[in-house]
Structure formats: C-alpha cells, structure tokens
C-alpha cells in the first residue's frame, strides 16, 4: 500500500472540508477549499485511495507545507 502525504501548497484559511477520514477519493477530487489572497483555491487529491488521516477543520489557518491529509492507495 502506497501512502501519499498531501500538503498545503500555499498559506491560507480552510473554508470547507469536503471529505472525511476513511472516505474514498479519486484523483482530482476536491479535499478542501483554501482561501488565500481573497481567492478560493481547491486542494485536490493527487491520487485515488482512502483517506487515513485528516486533521483539518473549517476556519483553521494553515501555513505552506502543513499536512492536509494522508491518502493510502
């Protein structure tokens, strides 16, 4: 089983989380929306699989490189 750590590519504020721990995602599915510079940016799954770790919530302020989730494929 391969593990993929998904990280925030830019700093910002989490607006919404579209998945939950244990859910299955396909490549390109939106994991969460991140607001940065007054712009909504979708953070998408780089690969398909199951979300084994998800520790973000709406309203949370994140820095570049912070963990979005871990996807096991």
């Amino acid at each position: 089983m391969a593990q993929e750590n998904v990280e925030f590519p830019i700093p910002g504020k989490v607006l919404s989380v579209n998945v939950s721990q244990g859910s299955n995602v396909a490549e390109g599915d939106v994991i969460c929306m991140l607001e940065s510079m007054k712009m909504e940016n979708p953070i998408v799954a780089p690969c398909g699989g199951t979300i084994t770790k998800l520790d973000i919530s709406p309203g949370q302020v994140v820095e570049t490189g912070a963990l979005v989730c871990i996807i096991e494929s």
Partner: protein
C-alpha cells in the same frame, strides 16, 4: 403640477440613457458575475446616480452660476463633487488607500524571491509605451503621462498623477484605471496566451519559497522607503504611505492599527472613491471622443504592460537555471491581487498541480512599487 417641470424624466437625454445602461452593466458584472464587486458596485451605482438629471450630486459653482458637472476651477456644491474636491483633488484618499494597501501586503513572497522585483519593473514598460503612443497621437506631455500610467492598473496612483498633471482628464483616466483593474480577468488571459506556449504555461514551480524572517519583514518597509524616496523624491506621498502601512502590519506590535487600516479604513475609502469615480461618468464628460480615446489608450497601456511582463519572464528563463512560469510576469501590473489571481487560475488550468499564487504575488507587489515610482518619475520630469 408646477413642480412637474422639475421632474427628471423631461430632462433625460440619449447620452444619459446610454450611461444608465452602462451603469446597469457595471452593476450586473459586479453582482451577477462577481467581477471585482467591491469596485464595480460603487462605481456602477455612482454612474446611475450622476446620470439622473437634476440630481445635483456633482454640481459646481462657476462665476456665480450653478453647473451640473464638476468644474476644475469652480467651487464644488454637490455632495459627491465636495467629496471629490476635498478627498481626491486634495490627494488625500489615493494616498491613504496606499496606507491601507501597505497594511494588507505581505512582502514575504517578494523577499523570498527577489528576482521577481525585476518582473514588477518590467511590466512598467507598458506605461512608457502608452506614454509615447499618446504623445504621437497629439496629446500634451502632461496628458500623455496620465494616460500612460493607466498601464500600471493602479487606480489611486492614476488619480494622484492625473490630478497633478492633467486635472481635466481625471474622470476619463480614473474610470479607465478602475475599470481595467476590474477587468483584469478578461484582458490579461488572451495576452498571456498569445505570448506563451502550452508547455510554458505548464512549467511547474515548487511551492516552498524561502522562509522569510520577521526581522527581514520589519526592515524592508523602512529601508525600501528610504532608498526609493531618495531616488525618486516625488514618489514620497504614495510610497511613504504604502511603506508606513506595511510597517504597521509587519512590526507585530500595532496589529489594531494594521487591522483598521487594512479593513474598516480601506472600506470607507473604497466606498468614497468608487462613488466619486462612478459620478465622474456623466454623459457630458464621458461620451466625448477625447475620453473614449483615453479609454482605448488605457487598454493599450494595460495590455502592453502585461505583454512586457510576460516577455521579460521569458527572457529571464533564457539566463536562469531554475525556470519560472512566464505567466507570473503578467502579475507585474499592480492590480493586487487580481493579476496574481489570474495567473493562479490559468496556472491551475494548464497544470492542476501548480499553485502560482504566491509566486505571482512577488511581481504583483513589485508592480505596486513600480507604478508608484513611475508616477514619481513622471512628476519629477514634467511636474
């Protein structure tokens, strides 16, 4: 019945009807298309109000006579003409907007990747390009400066410079600058696409920029203000306010002031400025060949700035080892953060893994400094 003759309906002209439609279109774009609503809604509503006859919002008194439109040499008598005179013509609002902008600007991306400063400077070539075209078309040197600066896509700077050099043009240049700021998502993409290949637009840029220390962020506004103002003294009102606002943000001990400057203060100024710009779009001052030509030249200036920014980024790729996505050059115009957002959106379309937003913020912020400096150079030259 006698009051019937004062009813505005009887005084409507074809020009004012055309302007009412334009006002409606601006409101539609802002509300329905969510296109820079903070600018377009106040401007659009201002256009509606000023084109309703006999309202008197922009009234002025010239030689004892009341005139409906703003007169540069007259005494303002309407509510908006007063706001315009004491807020804009006295150059208070544009400079304080720079204070608010400074308080919301993070110089981190620029400090992390200082070569993007060059891209912000490169985009200013469009300003000079349009300046020379305006000169060739027979505009005076003062008017040409005011038209050229529209290419920087920086409303407050355009108003500031036009008011100093060609006050009779202020309506046309202010409206052009603000409209183009709002239309960044429409004007820039075709220019960027024309100048870049699909492969270039797909160039991936690593997200992790160099971490920037707090000390660097505190030192930057002070040092930059000293150097830029010593080099171009006439840029002091704009650059000075911008860097002061940024100091409030960066120093970490004036968060309350920075918050107010970046939010409530900025919102109040935006409301006043938006209404004033809209109220300058009356049929008699806007539907003139001269104003329409300024509008067209403004678009040329803005497209040229975008083109120069992208071309410079491509040139940089010829000499640097680590390739940059040339689209970030388009963010060298100073419409913050609209231009950076366009680059982010196009970058994601070309390569969904790409997040160019922060990379584009570097040239974008450099563009603000660049346009304010260009205005200072024009003022030093002819002011």
């Amino acid at each position: 019945m006698l009051g019937f003759f004062e009813v505005g309906f009887l005084n409507l002209t074809w020009g004012s009807i055309v302007m009412l439609i334009i006002g409606g279109v601006l409101l539609y774009l802002g509300i329905s298309k969510n296109m820079e609503p903070l600018l377009l809604v106040p401007i659009g509503f201002g256009v509606l109000l000023v084109n309703l006859p006999l309202g008197g919002l922009m009234e002025s008194i010239v030689n004892g006579q009341v005139v409906e439109s703003y007169a540069v040499g007259g005494e303002p008598a309407g509510i908006i003409s007063r706001v315009f005179r004491y807020g804009l013509a006295w150059e208070i609002i544009p400079c304080f907007i720079f204070l608010g902008l400074g308080a919301m600007t993070d110089f981190g991306p620029l400090l992390a990747n200082p070569k993007t400063l060059i891209l912000g400077a490169g985009a200013q070539f469009g300003v000079y390009f349009a300046f020379f075209i305006a000169l060739l078309l027979g505009f005076s040197i003062h008017e040409a400066c005011s038209i050229g600066i529209i290419g920087g896509a920086d409303g407050p700077t355009t108003i500031y410079l036009t008011n100093k050099l060609a006050p009779h043009f202020i309506g046309a240049t202010a409206v052009a600058a603000y409209t183009y700021m709002a239309l960044v998502p429409i004007i820039q993409p075709p220019v960027i696409k024309l100048l870049t290949t699909k492969q270039e637009r797909e160039i991936y840029m690593k997200p992790q920029l160099r971490p920037v220390s707090k000390l660097e962020k505190i030192l930057f506004p002070g040092i930059a203000a000293v150097i830029i103002i010593l080099l171009v003294p006439k840029s002091a009102p704009l650059i000075g306010m911008f860097m002061f606002g940024n100091m409030l943000y960066a120093c970490g001990v004036t968060d309350r002031l920075a918050n107010t400057a970046a939010n409530a203060f900025m919102d109040i100024l935006t409301i006043l400025l938006g209404l004033c710009v809209g109220c300058f779009m009356s049929a008699e001052s806007f539907l003139k060949p001269e104003s329409l030509l300024v509008f067209v030249l403004g678009a040329v200036a803005f497209a040229a700035s975008t083109a120069f920014g992208v071309s410079l980024a491509k040139l940089m790729n010829l000499v640097t080892k680590e390739k940059i996505n040339p689209m970030i050059g388009a963010a060298g115009v100073s419409a913050v953060p609209m231009a950076a957002r366009v680059v982010q959106r196009m970058g994601q379309q070309a390569n969904p893994k790409n997040f160019l937003l922060m990379h584009a913020m570097g040239p974008n912020i450099a563009g603000v400094i660049g346009t304010a400096t260009a205005a200072g150079i024009f003022l030093g030259m002819v002011g």
